[in-house]
């Protein structure tokens, strides 16, 4: 089975590459192949990465179609890796002349290298999304019409709705990875996102609510059966709840996190700290903790690139490695880091298919895909009942981490007080701060209601943004510091 798919795959890949190279009329396949063979011969690793990305953004704002824009970005990135050094050169001029200049640039950086090129990459024909162009898949007219309907529907929900912003973001990215010796890998990646943001005003107070959905399939999968109304309903519900919010408390307290998107906590608290580069460099607090207990019993966290049509899923990563489901923490014990090829080689392990880049303009780094905490046995009700004084955090704007000190923050956009085991008033958005290595040891209960986020996350690292997913069940944390104003 594997052999068969391998052959089939190779065939189709060659076909695609040749046809695409023909499109780039200033560069032919044979020539590109011989240039990279020659340049990467003394390297340990490297490739020519070609990308052709179409993207669109249609924005409705303040009752009008504010912008409709389309972008076509094509280019290449040539990378040579020798020991722990990376030389990278990229250009949007896909021509022999430009590639020759990049080759010289790579050779001059890595001039004394004496590597042994590592050819091994498993081939795969795994497919977690269809080959489709979501931009062409739905006409501009219907997108504009639907944005107008969204606007009308959202404004009709209540007189207090003062502003509605809605947008459609679509992308179709075709990547081709060419390695010395004729190894070829391709992937065709659709990605869409639909966002609605609502501003409400009542008695002089303004609050917003935001909700979105998305993933690697056509827009219509998220819009059919009037599903788009649910996006508006959710944004409105959040904004409306915040109108009644009171100042948040300050200080340490128990925190119940809702399921789904609040898994930003997992992403920040442990996710980044488990990326291979920081651990190879020993700058992460987790670098010497493999095999050690880093979380409470019952806490299992995976990073999964293989979930059907999810925003963080990939058939292959940007080095050509098939993605997989990587166990990071199993029942509280740290098991694995997330690796790209270079960090894996230097740490004497295998790539986990986490080598990603924002575009051909960016170098490869180990990055998360869909980072998920698995189900436990408790219910959300039990968690809330057990708390005398604390907060229940339902949605977040975003988070950030300092991987060296382990401190992380995230910003609540919807939260409630918990008093004597009952949910009370909504609280004004507050920052929560914690310490990565200790916070997961303070998990008191893990819920049985695991949910994936709706498909809206973009993770930033060293200036590069990549689409990711998160997921978790409800969770009770013993102690976190809440950044409110009330003592």
């Amino acid at each position: 089975m594997l052999n068969w798919s391998l052959i089939l795959n190779n065939f189709s890949i060659k076909f695609i590459i040749v046809s695409n190279f023909l499109k780039y009329k200033n560069l032919d396949y044979e020539k590109a192949q011989s240039l990279i063979n020659n340049t990467l011969v003394d390297c340990d690793d490297g490739e020519l990465y070609l990308e052709d990305t179409k993207s669109e953004s249609i924005l409705l704002d303040d009752n009008k179609i504010k912008s409709s824009s389309f972008k076509r970005d094509t280019g290449y990135g040539l990378r040579g890796v020798a020991e722990d050094k990376v030389a990278y050169s990229h250009s949007n001029d896909i021509s022999e002349k430009s590639l020759e200049m990049s080759c010289d640039n790579i050779k001059s950086t890595l001039k004394h290298s004496n590597g042994k090129y590592n050819h091994s990459i498993n081939k795969t024909n795994q497919k977690f999304y269809d080959e489709l162009d979501p931009i062409e898949n739905k006409s501009l007219e219907t997108k504009i019409e639907l944005l107008k309907e969204i606007n009308q529907y959202a404004r009709s929900k209540d007189g207090c709705v003062k502003q509605v912003t809605a947008n459609f973001l679509g992308e179709h990215k075709n990547v081709e990875i060419l390695r010395p010796g004729g190894e070829l890998f391709t992937d065709s990646r659709p990605l869409v996102r639909i966002n609605v943001s609502i501003l409400v005003e009542k008695n002089g107070r303004k609050e917003t609510g935001m909700y979105g959905v998305g993933g690697r399939q056509s827009y219509d999968n998220y819009l059919k059966n009037d599903d788009w109304k649910k996006i508006c309903d959710e944004a409105f519900r959040m904004a409306y709840a915040n109108l009644e919010s009171k100042p948040s408390p300050a200080g340490e307290m128990k925190v119940v996190l809702g399921p789904g998107w609040p898994a930003i906590l997992i992403h920040e608290a442990v996710g980044h700290g488990l990326e291979g580069d920081f651990n190879r460099k020993k700058t992460s607090v987790f670098h010497d903790l493999v095999g050690k207990k880093v979380a409470s019993d019952g806490v299992t966290i995976i990073d999964d690139g293989t979930i059907d049509k999810k925003r963080g899923s990939l058939n292959i990563d940007d080095e050509g490695t098939p993605t997989e489901k990587t166990v990071l923490i199993e029942n509280g014990i740290l098991k694995n880091f997330m690796q790209d090829r270079m960090n894996a080689r230097l740490m004497k392990t295998k790539s986990t298919g986490n080598g990603r880049r924002e575009s051909y303009k960016h170098v490869i780094m180990p990055r998360m895909r869909n980072t998920i905490m698995l189900n436990g046995n408790n219910t959300q009700e039990e968690m809330i009942k057990s708390v005398d004084k604390g907060i229940f955090a339902v949605s977040f704007g975003g988070g950030q981490v300092d991987i060296t000190s382990g401190k992380f923050v995230f910003n609540c956009t919807e939260a409630y007080e918990i008093i004597n085991g009952k949910i009370g008033s909504p609280l004004k958005g507050a920052t929560l701060i914690g310490d990565g290595p200790s916070s997961l040891k303070q998990v008191l209960m893990v819920g049985n209601d695991m949910k994936l986020d709706p498909g809206i996350g973009t993770c930033g690292k060293a200036g590069q943004g990549v689409p990711v997913g998160v997921g978790q069940p409800s969770m009770l944390i013993d102690n976190m510091t809440v950044g409110g104003t009330q003592l």
Binding site: S67, F70, D73, Y88, E207, G429
Partner: protein
Amino acid sequence: MLKEDEHLKRLAENFLTNLKKSGASESSVLISNSISETVNVRNKKLDGSTRSDSLNVVLTAYVGKKKSSISSSNLEEDHINELIKKCVETAKITPEDELNSLPDSELYFKGIKNLDLYDETFIENSKKIDFIKEAEDQAFKKKEIVNTNGSGFSQNKSNFILANSNGFIDGYKSSNFSAYCEVVAKSNGSMERDYEYSSKRFFKDLLEPKKIGQKASELAINKLKPKKIKSKKMKVVFDKRIAKNFLSSFAGAITSGTIAKGTTFLKDKLNTQIFNDKINIIDKPDIIKGTGSRYFDIEGTSTDKLNLVENGVLKNYLIDTYNGKKINMKSNGRASGTTNLFFENGHEDYKNLLNSNKEIVYINETFGSGANIITGDYSVGASGFMVENGEFIYPISEITIAGNLNEIFNKMVLGNDLEFNYSTNSPTMFVDELTIGGK
């Protein structure tokens, strides 16, 4: 090599002609070209290099009051002609917006370009490596510095041409050199990182590498073995590198787009007191060699000096053409945001600020998105130092600071130590009482 003005101008004129032929009633073209080279060093060894060469075009077509824009990094003629057709077709099916238009041609930049924004100097990669290694060498002289997160040196050169069917065609070259050093200090199980960086238009104006390394190492070492303090209301001093973030939040709250939509806590505050009367804020685009200096904005509108806040009173918004029309004001050339934005120097000595109370929290790092410009609510994660009687006592971390920007703007006291290191700059800032979340 960076593409020359004449070449870019010829391309731009061609594209404008084709846009017109394809049915655009008005149009604009922005072509930008940049070449940047970066080297990275880690633990005093070369870690990698990146060279990027990019050429990009943004085409905007108006068909009456309908508008669409397309951008592409492939400038081959056939491809562009196809995109031009698509751009005009898309504009035609996009709903009309009566406010869509090219900028007012009276406001176009017509002055002399004499701000020295481009340095011809070309630094070879080997020199870049030497520069940044020297910074790391200096940092490693301290025994607590055990590792680096990486240090780097970048040289960026760019050129652009903006042209529109109203006859505007102009552009200019600019350069930027930057160096950063990020080190890790370790002691008795505590590990902390910090950084220093310098970014200038001209290579010779960069901070000396030794000073960069020295500063980064001191900052990281000083953070070691932090304590968490109790939750309470406290007087806070913000280090310059954090104080400038309040200017960015302020700028976000007075852009014409947010004003027009009402999504800012500073709506309808023009000509009213929003800071205390000692505060002045200026956006000055014409600083010679300034990192934020600019002749005109992304629309071609001339960018002149603005006194945004005078004696605490909000005097101007940051206005672009489209949103300006919405609020019945003319563009002041801020479609690309602020330029060199700063608080005018205050009167207090740094020492006096630290001594203004027996107990003070000194903050030199914050994280998280922080300010909500719709409500003005402010809440961030933070680290810094406890200061008692003007002396730094111990580092603190894992705390939060919360308040409201209205209250902070009203209470802030500025030091007299303003420097122009970045494009947004603030002197040291004291704020009387914010809520600290801790133990």
